[in-house]
Each structure stands twice: as structure tokens, then as C-alpha cells.
Subunit: 315 residues, 3 copies
Amino acid sequence: MQFPSPVSIEWIATIIDAKITGNKNAFATGINELHKVEKGDLVFVDHPKYYKTCIESNASFIIINKETEVPDGKALLIVDNPFEAYCKIVNHFRPFKPVHSMMSESATAGEGTFIYPSAFVGNYVSIGKNCIIHPHVSILDHCIIGNNVIIQANTVIGSDAFYYNSKKDRSVWYKKMPSCGRVIIEDDVEIGAGCCIDRGVSHDTVIGKGTKMDNHIHVGHDTVIGENGLFAAGTAIAGVVNIGNGVTVWGQVGISKTLSIGDNAVILAKSGIGGDLETGKIYFGSPAEEASIKKRELVWIKRIPEIWEKVMAKK
Amino acid sequence: MQFPSPVSIEWIATIIDAKITGNKNAFATGINELHKVEKGDLVFVDHPKYYKTCIESNASFIIINKETEVPDGKALLIVDNPFEAYCKIVNHFRPFKPVHSMMSESATAGEGTFIYPSAFVGNYVSIGKNCIIHPHVSILDHCIIGNNVIIQANTVIGSDAFYYNSKKDRSVWYKKMPSCGRVIIEDDVEIGAGCCIDRGVSHDTVIGKGTKMDNHIHVGHDTVIGENGLFAAGTAIAGVVNIGNGVTVWGQVGISKTLSIGDNAVILAKSGIGGDLETGKIYFGSPAEEASIKKRELVWIKRIPEIWEKVMAKK
Amino acid sequence: MQFPSPVSIEWIATIIDAKITGNKNAFATGINELHKVEKGDLVFVDHPKYYKTCIESNASFIIINKETEVPDGKALLIVDNPFEAYCKIVNHFRPFKPVHSMMSESATAGEGTFIYPSAFVGNYVSIGKNCIIHPHVSILDHCIIGNNVIIQANTVIGSDAFYYNSKKDRSVWYKKMPSCGRVIIEDDVEIGAGCCIDRGVSHDTVIGKGTKMDNHIHVGHDTVIGENGLFAAGTAIAGVVNIGNGVTVWGQVGISKTLSIGDNAVILAKSGIGGDLETGKIYFGSPAEEASIKKRELVWIKRIPEIWEKVMAKK
């Protein structure tokens, strides 16, 4: 999330009760979790295992629970509980704001757009021109919908990320990381019925121009999908995935988190993707491989009884 | 889609600005895409690869982008862009008609039917007697629901087909083919929660009498399902599939497009169906085979290390 | 289902027109189907194959279609159609009660809870403190939601069980077994968007304290899930499953009915679970095995061509 304007880190230190070391006079331009952090951002870290990664990331300001060295120009904000401090900042800039009608007064929609009376449109949502928003669609706060977009019935745009701070030595193991990112849906996109597109936990989930999705698609937080993609029913894409342009994904595929899928890759139905995929290739299986390799493997499996017979014949 | 009454093809040629060759004085009774085309129908074709198939199909009238021979009694309607012409005809007979309340004034429901206040019922929908339509169900235009039907919460009946005219030499690769078909749900059917049943792109999607569906089921456009079927949660059925009577499909199964599934076939959980299935047999796996064959195969895989040892022992 | 207070079985015999044998003066405390039956309960059986199991179960009172011996202290209620009798009792105690607004007058919600205007809350629902119920959520009759619970958009809590009385010698093979159970969601739970949690057919479906669910999760009737579980998107859990504490289930997993999953078990993405799982182990595959075994098996499959070559080389 980018702040509305740069924020003095001294002021941030005050609201989270932190000690600052390093570049005390700087201004933060946003806050992000580690995967999406950019120059000028705040980030938090609460486990020694990740101290180094965070301090050396693009982040300029690190909320941390240990005083340690800090690179030139960066600053540490030292607190007992960095996760709680992160939540405090996020909730300050994105406070929960109830909506008491089907369309928030701060939401806007362009000319030629029709929103069914039973669709819900949250705070600060922006919908472009010539869109159709079908019955029982939920578009939650801050999401941005382009022009000529169709969102079919009962789809959710901007559900919260499935993202928790996890510690198994307390009674509630998983504490919700508040989602301050958005969903951005570009022009000429169609999203089928019963889909759920999560907002970014700290950045944006993006569905690129001209991409078409079937029913029951899940897209995780901070995932970025390119242009002219085709996604068939029942496919689930985890968080922080990068999908290129012109990708075709058939039904009931699963794609694991933080992967990269090359342009024009094709994933056949029911595949499970656990690693990056190359541009223009066809994949199949769970775990998936190039479809030609996988298909040869299926033929080899059929030949096991023949191999057995040959081996036994030589006894 | 059948037209409300037969339509002169000369009049159709006027609205799409077409040149007619062949039987100019005929009347078209409907319009369909190739998979579902019937005698009296208009169909369109825009790729030389499919010219012959379309001209020789059941279609009586072919909207085409090349002047060519036409069988006796049929007519060609020659235009530059047959896809745009098809859309123009469909949109003429099924124009988008906004609804400004939770139940369209043109919708009807029989005696003893209860529709929760938060369900949406679109234009020209007909619901039979003694049905329960649960909260946040969306029943879209022109769908027909029989008697004694239960549709559980947040299910969508009549979402648009996932069907696009595809050309990769323009900036938007996939252009929406408007869905003018319906969903027909026969008597005594129950549809679980969170399901999406797509309307036919040009014909009807049908759920047969007495069939029961669990939650999160997807049914694609123009698919026809028989009577007394049982479909467990998370199953996705693609478009233009023909499923017989008494079929049992367990959870998270995927069925690919345009297939035929025989009466009383049983598909075990998580199977992926890529070919037609025979009557009364049990299938498993992805790609699926008869369950008995698949299970034997799994046993053979377990024996590979034993085969390896035998082979190595003979060195 | 427990009755509001103990009910004389003579009175029950009257409403279902049954002949009583055995302990005629007893009082029934509830009614359950066989999987969940407890002492004091009524149960029904209509097939000779299950007579013995039902009569020897925890049930105190058996609705049955044959006069037979009955253990001391128990009673039989003999009728022609035990299934219809069961339905009659259930419908007497849980009659269908229409709701004409978005929140039933008999529903309650605690301090600090925000319910979006487009959420539906049914009869006798109880929602705790500091909850957020997002747009287009459906919470159906009798469900109980704890404190600090988040239910994301378009999720259904308390859909009916996928549970039918099945007889293939009548025109409608599957007759709906009315669901009289509830869903109980304990404190600190989060349920993602587009989920469907079925109520118990006769008992309770429970989501334990601190458990977090992603989008598009299906939970079947009477399933009991422990504390601090983590369930990723697209997972489907069938009915009457028992899941321990601290269980982690990745995306698109399927778990078959009536299974037990041990504490802290981990199920990797896309697995299909067909048997009980042990405490603390990691599972993968469909059908699933311990992940280490399954991974070794995948390596062995890759070696089949090598084995083939060795075998052929010896010719």
C-alpha cells in the first residue's frame, strides 16, 4: 500500500511506540509485506531467520524486535511486537469503514455501466464505463474495475488475503494480517460466476486486459495475471503468483504460491503446478511436467506388467 | 435459441447487411452454434477450416465470410464478419434488459413456492410449484425451474457461457459470444449451495428430473444431464456434455467438453474425464480409466522396486 | 438433534402411527441418523441389512419396518415407512419457517459485530461479539457463531446436508432427508469467501476455535473440525469427518466421508484422502499416502525406461 502522501518515520515511531536507529529523518511512502516491498516502504520482521532478508530487501524502514546494524540511509523501528505494530499502521491508513447501503457513497461507476440492484459495491470502489455487474456480486473497498468489464453473478472481488501471522506457542496460532491491498481489473475482462478474487495483502492483485475467467475461479492475494488469459472453471491460483500474457489454464488446475508462469504457457486440466513454468510450453499432471513427458510416462506405466513378464521369463 | 416465430431470411439479411445466395425465400426458425444446430437454424462460420462442416450440418442458413456453393434448399448469408452478424441477431432477439428489483415483473412462481427476500429472479423466469429458492440465489433471465425444486443459498442459475470468438491477431483475443440459451431444471431436482449452472450459449442446459447436486458444482453451457443423477461437491462439468440417467459422480471430478457419459456410470472422486464413458461402468483416475484397471495399475507401480531388484540380481 | 425437552415415545408413536414394542413408557431426548446417534435418541432403519446395527447402536428407540426382538430398556416403533416417519418427527420439531427480511427477528448478534446490509441471517441464529459478516453471506436457521469470527463475502453457513434416502425402484430415486442439525463456529475462526458449510443432517457441524479457512471451501454435514486448523482454497471435506487440532490442509484437497484425521496432520495440495490419517504425518497424492513414500514412488516411475533398457540389454 502506498500512503496518500509521504509520512515521517518519526511520526510512525510515535504511533507504534518504537525506538528508531539509522536514518531518523526520512519519510516512508508506503508499507508492504516482504514479497512486494519497494524502495521507500516500511516492512516488518519478527523472526531472526528473516532479519537479514528484510534488512537487505528493497524496504527502507524495517520494524523489528531486535536492535541490530542498519545499512546507510535505512532505518530500524524497534518494538517488542513488530506484527502488532504493522497492523496498527495498516489499520490507521485503512480503518474498517462500515457500509449501510448496497453501494457506498464514495463508490463511482462510469457511463453505460449497469449494476444489478442486488450487487454490493464498497467504499472508494471505482467502476469504469460499459460494465455489467451481475446480481449478488460483492466488490469490496478500494477495488478498481476498468471499462467493458463483466462480472457474473455471486462473484467476490476484493475478499481479504488468506494470510496470517503464525505462532504455535499461543492459544490462537494464526492472527489475521489485515489486507490493505486492492484488486485491479483491467479493461475488457470477464469474470465468471462464483469466483473469489482476493485483494493484495499489502499490494495489488491484478487481472490483465482482455483476460476471461470461467466460474469458481480463486485468485490469491497479490497475484498478477497478464493480458488475454483464459482460465477455465474451478481453477485455484495461490498468492503472489506472476502469470504472463496469453496463458491458457484449463479446469480445476491448482497453482502454488509465489510462482512465475511464462507467456502463452498452457496448463491442461486438473494439473497441480508446484514450480515456475516456461513460456509457450504445455504442462500436465500433478505434480505437473511438460505434457509430452507426462504422457510418455503414462505409457511407460502401462508397460510395467510386460516388463514383469520379461523379467520372470528369464528366471 | 428458437425465434418466437419463423423469421424471413431476407429480413435477417437486411439487419446484418448480408448478400444471400441459395434459397432466398426461406424462413429461419432459430439460431444456434454448431454443436447444437437444428434444421431451420441459422449458424455462423468465419474460418475456412469449418466451412464444410457448417454448410453440411443441420443448419439451413449459414452466415459466412466467403461466397461458396450451397446445397439445395439452404442459403448462405455472406458478410465480412459473421461473428458480429451472429451477435447482432442474438442481441436483437435477446436484448439486455435491466432489472431494478429483486424479482422481475415478468417472472412467475407457482403455488407453495417460497423465495427468500434476498434471492434474485430475472426477466421471464418461470418457477414451478412447491419450490424453495434460498437466500442470495441468482436465477437469471429466461430460465425455467420445475416443481418441487430446491435451490440452496448463493447458487447461480443461468450464468453466461464461457464461450468466446477467438482471434490472436487483434488486441482483445477473446470476444464474448452472447448467450441466448436457457437453463431448464426439471421437477424434484435439488441444487446445493454455491453452484453455478451456465445457460446454453445458443441452446438449453438441462438438469433432469430427480437429479441431486451437492455444493460448488459447475455445469457448463448446453450440457444435458439425465434423471436421478447424484453429483458430489466440487465437481465441474464443461460445456456440451451429455450425461445419461442414474449417473453417480463423486467429489471434485472434472468432465471435459462435448463428451457422452452413459446411463448409470459411476465416476469416483477426483477423476478427470477426457473421453466418453460407457453405461454402467465405474471409472477412476486422471486421466480416468475403468476403476478396476486403474487400481491394478496402482498395485503395479508399487512393484517397481521389486522389479528393479530382480533385474539387478541377475547382473 | 436434541428435543427442547424429553418427549414421551407414546406421543411420538401417535404422530407417526406406530406400534410400540419394548419399553413403552420411556422418553426420547433427541433424534439422530445412525452415524451420530446417542443414548436417549430415536433412529430409523428401513433396510434389513442395517436392522442389527441400528438396534445395537446407542439409539434407545428404533423406528423400523419389521417387528423383531428388542434389547431390554429399548423400544421399537414399527411403521410401514420408517423414513417418512423420521421426516415427520424432524419436520414437527424443525418446521420450515419463512423469513421475510434480511435478518430474522429471532436472530441475535453481540456487541461490536458488524453485519453488512446485504448479508442474510436466518431464524434463531446467534452471532457473538466483534464479528464481521460480509456482504451476501447467508447464515441459515439455528446456526451459532462465536466471538471474533470473520465470515467473508458470499459464504453460506448452514446449507442443507447432501443426504438422501435412496431407493432405485421408485421414480424419484433420492428423497431428501431433512437437515435438523446446526453449524457451530467457535471463537476466532475466519471463513473465506464463497465457502459452503453444511449443517448436520441430525447433529452439529463444528469449526473449532482459531481455525482459518480460505475461499471455496466445502464442509459436509456433521463434520467436526478441531482448533487452529488451516484450510487452503478449493478444499472439499465430505460429511461426518473428524478432523483433529492443528491440522493443515493445502489447496484443492478432497477428504472422503466418515474419516478421522489425526492432530497436526498435514495434507499437501490436490491430495485425495480415502482413509484415516495419523497424527503429525504429512500426506500427498490421490489416493494419498505418506508424502515421503509417494515422492519415492514418483522417482521410481521415472526409472521405468531405465529398467526396460536393462531388461532388453540382457536378451
